[in-house]
Amino acid sequence: MVNIAAIIYEPGNSVRNKTGGWRTFRPILDIKKCIKCEKCYIFCPEGAIQEDIDGNFIIDYDYCKGCLICEHECPVKAITRVREEK
């Protein structure tokens, strides 16, 4: 059933739309090289780069569309790209 006025009552429910399938290239983050400058974190259009419980940044491939801003902006080249292959 469509909600009245098509109101969406579940905030942020777009998480069920996994956009990871959009990728051509996959960014890979090497946590050993990471200096935690947070550039990849703040520039990710998807918010797909988040801190894990150990304080390391990890890329959520469910949502990463492979724009590679993170790779491009990383000052220490901790992020590299690989071709997505099926």
Partner: protein
């Protein structure tokens, strides 16, 4: 920890890979926080963030039409005032009312509504994410399209150099409304952008922030360069960063040495028809503008 960890704009949205608008919204909401109501006029952001039954917004959000974000925000702000005064709702809470509109919905079709809202003194923050054309409908020129940019309605051709008018200066027009706070910002400078949003939200009355948002699709550059292009716009002086607080102008970023405009121009397909002489003319135009701002 440099940046707030709160995420109020959820992944799963349909923005292009590398979308600058999505980055801007994340940055805005990180500082605005939960007690925020957002209204968005019609545009890319509105479309890619809310295809029913899915929404990326974790704050209350409303879209009404293309040309009325200023008025809608006025209505929301007035309702909150009334709810506080007459019903005791949101007691002792500061609820931010933020409109986030594209350049078309802000500088063109929504201009009158915005002007009205600013002039009336509503306690709202209007943020224009400026990708310099109508991207939602497929890259048509807006009044924010810069000189010489090729769009689908100002195509470069045998006798055309693309857009033949300079960009409308929205920040200065808003400043002329006498509002307490006006600023420019760029997606590539998150500290500056977030500081300005925070400052704006701490000021009572109408505020306006003009944010430059390089658009991978509309400007023609690879998605990973969204931030780099924005940086070039600022470093070349094409898009100066400043704020006008209670009428007082202040540059908030001064490049050590301005880069040649050519670096910015040559990185984008929308300018690929330009000759070196054309770029030289653009350089002169930008030099003059920078001189006026003391840059």
């Amino acid at each position: 920890m440099q940046y707030p960890r709160i995420e109020l704009f959820a992944p799963g949205h349909r923005g292009c890979a590398g979308c600058g608008a999505a980055i801007i919204v994340r940055q805005i909401l990180k500082v605005a926080g939960k007690d925020t109501i957002v209204t968005t006029p019609t545009g890319c952001l509105e479309v890619f963030s809310t295809p029913y039954p899915e929404t990326s917004w974790k704050v209350p959000w409303i879209h009404v039409a293309f040309e009325c974000a200023g008025a809608v925000a006025s209505g929301i702000e007035s309702a909150i005032k009334v709810l506080k005064r007459k019903r005791g709702k949101f007691k002792d809470r500061k609820i931010n009312v933020i409109a986030i509109g594209g350049d078309g919905g802000t500088a063109d079709i929504g201009f009158q509504s915005l002007s009205g809202a600013m002039e009336r003194g509503h306690n709202i923050l209007y943020i224009m994410y400026d990708n310099e054309a109508y991207m939602n409908t497929g890259i048509q020129r807006s009044s924010a399209t810069p000189l010489y940019a090729s769009t689908t309605t100002t195509p470069a051709g045998k006798i055309s150099k693309g857009e033949d008018r300079p960009k409308k200066d929205m920040a200065m027009i808003m400043a002329a409304h006498g509002v307490p706070y006006v600023a420019t910002a760029c997606v590539s400078y998150p500290d500056d952008l977030m500081r300005k949003v925070k400052k704006a939200l701490s000021i009572e009355g109408p505020k306006f922030i003009h944010v430059l948002q390089p658009c991978t699709t509309g400007w023609g550059f690879p998605p990973e360069k969204t931030i780099e292009i924005g940086r070039l716009a600022v470093e070349t002086g094409v898009f100066p960063l400043y704020e006008i607080e209670y009428g007082e102008f202040r540059l908030t970023y001064r490049p050590a040495k301005r880069k040649p405009v050519k670096e910015y121009i040559r990185a984008q397909k929308r300018y690929r028809h330009l000759t070196d002489e054309d770029i030289e003319r653009l350089q002169k135009y930008i030099d003059e503008k920078c001189k006026l701002l003391g840059l």
